[in-house]
Subunit: 152 residues, 2 copies
């Protein structure tokens, strides 16, 4: 478990290393604000419409959950040079709701040094997002570009 | 090519159907605003720091590109009951930049009726996001829950 924010490189990490975030409280106004900008569907904007929808009540956009997860990752996964994603896979096992308090657990699944560029590698990182009841809201698997010590 | 917004169901679609969005202009202020909320890394917030980074200049968060893509999908892909995602895969072939004008092309790749729930199915939709020069900024493949006619 590593929570310190000293920048780390490809040389400092191992498969299985884990990074835990702080908690991120979410309220109705944030859900509606994000949705009005980026995902203006009734079940993200209006309690009455949401109650009659597939979600059975107001739910955050999955993209909002992803964006909040990124905020928590930036604060908790201290790769030198930053978090630079080449690609991701996401699933949302359950909706994110008003009043949820989000937190993330990020675990290194794989580390592949580049053959052609010896100063870098690709790290596969799984980031699970939970609410305050330990229910999983999102599973994210990211391919991240990570540099070696002294690469910059 | 279908741009009309009459709601459509699982019974109305076929593999290969395409949906084109409007254009979405992006400026520096929007990039910094999203990043300050959700992805506060120097290459998304500060031109000078960005110039010296991997990106070589200010770049939008990939999650911002994803969020803008969702906005364009909501406006252009008229599934009855809305766009309800079970999971997605994303890659970002190149950074999104200030001044880019985004648009999306969404294509139905696969349609799988549910065995257990006859009122619905899972549709695989590929959404490519381009800038005004036709350069691809993002590839998104979504698994969406789509209902049959009269399901609600």
């Amino acid at each position: 478990m590593k929570n310190e924010m000293k920048p780390i490189t490809l040389d400092d990490i191992a498969v299985g290393d884990r990074y835990l975030s702080r908690e991120f409280p979410l309220d109705t106004a944030q859900i509606k604000d994000f949705a009005s900008n980026f995902d203006p569907q009734p079940f993200h904007l209006d309690e009455t419409a949401a109650a009659q929808s597939f979600f059975g009540g107001l739910a955050a956009s999955g993209w909002h959950t992803a964006a909040m997860t990124m905020r928590l990752m930036v604060e908790s996964v201290p790769f030198a040079g930053g978090l630079i994603g080449a690609g991701v896979e996401i699933s949302w096992p359950r909706p994110t709701r008003p009043g949820d308090i989000l937190r993330t657990e990020s675990t290194i699944l794989d580390i592949v040094p580049s053959q052609s560029r010896p100063d870098r590698g690709i790290v596969t990182l799984q980031t699970d997002t939970f609410n305050q009841n330990g229910e999983q809201l999102q599973k994210l698997v990211s391919k991240l570009l990570v540099f070696r010590r002294g690469a910059d």
